[in-house]
Point group: none
DNA sequence: TTTGCATGTGAAGATCCTGTAACCAGGTGC
DNA sequence: GCACCTGGTTACAGGATCTTCACATGCAAA
């Protein structure tokens, strides 16, 4: 691996790419112009954003519960009390990117809006692409300063995955995963579906997998080994022959929760033998 | 070293922290319009900002050494290569607020500028007050996040960190940390998670880390040395191979006390019993 | 069942990462 | 000028990790 590629891995791919994949950007727009919303919606769909259209102001608490990355608002829709609303929203949600996108305005109005906490002011009519860029720029800045990314620890089966520590634990004991092992486990654990090797490789390594590369298999083996040691009664990573791997904590021998029954029976049989050996 | 001498040193040497200390926003403007600069200068003087006027592009390194909070640039002054310059600046100084303030432009140009990393785009002629608001909006989060770092002294393990004195102590005795050393220790001590080298560098030095730069490692070594001397029974900075460093005071030899593993032992314990019953 | 792939496994060598120390440059005080 | 300090760079060694390869095993189609 080239030094550059390695750098990309550590610097961006592992964190950013994987997260972006699962964490779509969430945006709400308070506006009543159907044409404007339509254009915006089309464009954002293509980008994979999660757009929420609102035809009038909602409570700050409602905004909080939407867990937005950004809010676009037309002050005209808010009517009187719009300044107070803006101030309340910006004050209450310092991590939210707020963009005012409204009709013609005076310098004084724009200054007021920005001083109240808005991140940008766009004047309608405006090009959707430009608005999106402005939103992106605002989010970018927020993200940058809001270090604590959404790195919540999650528990699946018997193990706990802690992105903040780059490590997984079972019963309080570290699995002693290496950085790459952890990245793969983390990626797998964030998705229910089967992931193709190429997909795993590309997301973790940051570039395309060479034909015939077995690295993913080898890492899955190491992961399984450490998982089995730490949590012997469970199986976590399942092979889908000819496809790839799927993460799902399952209690061996026990009736696994009814997922898609396209499971490979081999694994179950094998593990059943393992348990049987224990019992006998 | 006397407190006075230390203050002087800090004023000279440090990056972000020093800016916080004297609480003065530093702004550079690359523009050739004397009237524009005059108006801006008057207004910013009143606000107590530190304005630096530049009549042409300067090297990125020069910008780095200015320790800026924000940069306003007229693309017309840069001429050909302005896009590349913009990209270079934004890439190298992710913490810098970059505002393009230039004459009439197309949507495509504005989109391009914002995509390259600019935080905002103002079209000349514009009102100085509005421009200042836009700059403030771009800087806002950065500052707001750094301000509340109230200079509270904290004690971890056997050492006490005193941001107000730019020094750490063990058992009343100073560790004799240099400014950089202290900043790194301070940063690390404020976070429980693993910090990547790039992250540490960016937050302490104020700009992006060059590939292959080992400065962080070297400073960590110096820190460890001083920490070991002052508090031999503890280890504070832990290496996460392939990732970065994590701060956590731990007593050597003894099991470290705090591992807030947010497991849900209830279910796990139950399942374990279930299996045990099977096996037994 | 046999055959052709796909996947699991183990180990060795290549590669990368980190700790360490020595070194240089710029600044400061004497 | 000179000595000293601090920040930053570089080279090297040892260890940790990753990749690769050969071979064993498992799966599915014929």
């Amino acid at each position: 691996m080239s030094p550059e590629a390695r750098d990309v891995l550590v610097g961006n791919a592992a964190g950013a790419a994987a997260q972006r994949a699962n964490n779509r950007l969430r945006l709400a727009v308070i506006d009543r112009d159907p044409g404007f919303m339509q254009v915006l919606s089309n464009r954002l769909d293509a980008l994979g954003w999660d757009l929420r259209g609102l035809s009038s102001a909602v409570t700050v608490d409602a905004l909080v519960s939407m867990r937005l990355n950004a809010l676009v608002v037309d002050l005209a829709v808010l009517g009187p009390g719009s300044w107070e609303y803006l101030e309340r929203v910006c004050g209450r949600l310092p991590g939210l990117a707020v963009i005012v996108c409204t009709g013609p305005s005076s310098v004084a109005q724009r200054v007021r809006g920005l001083r109240l906490g808005a991140d940008a002011w766009m004047t309608k009519p405006c090009h959707a692409e430009e608005l999106i860029c402005v939103i992106e720029a605002a989010i970018r800045r927020h993200r940058r300063n809001e270090m604590p990314q959404i790195e919540e620890s999650t528990s699946v089966g018997q193990i706990t995955i802690r992105p903040d520590l780059y490590q997984a634990y079972a019963d309080g004991a570290s699995l002693e995963l290496t950085a790459r092992e952890f990245e793969i486990l983390h990626l797998l654990s964030q998705s229910d579906r089967v992931l193709r090797r190429e997909e795993i490789y590309e997301r973790v390594w940051g570039y395309a997998m060479a034909h015939g590369d077995r690295s993913v298999d080898v890492f899955v083996r190491k992961l399984r080994q450490k998982l089995r040691t730490a949590s012997p009664a469970w199986s976590y990573i399942h092979t889908h022959f000819g496809v790839g791997y799927r993460f799902a904590p399952e209690l061996d021998g026990g009736e696994e929760p009814l997922h898609e029954v396209r499971d490979v029976p081999g694994d179950d049989g094998h593990e059943a033998e393992f348990v049987a050996a224990l019992v006998g």
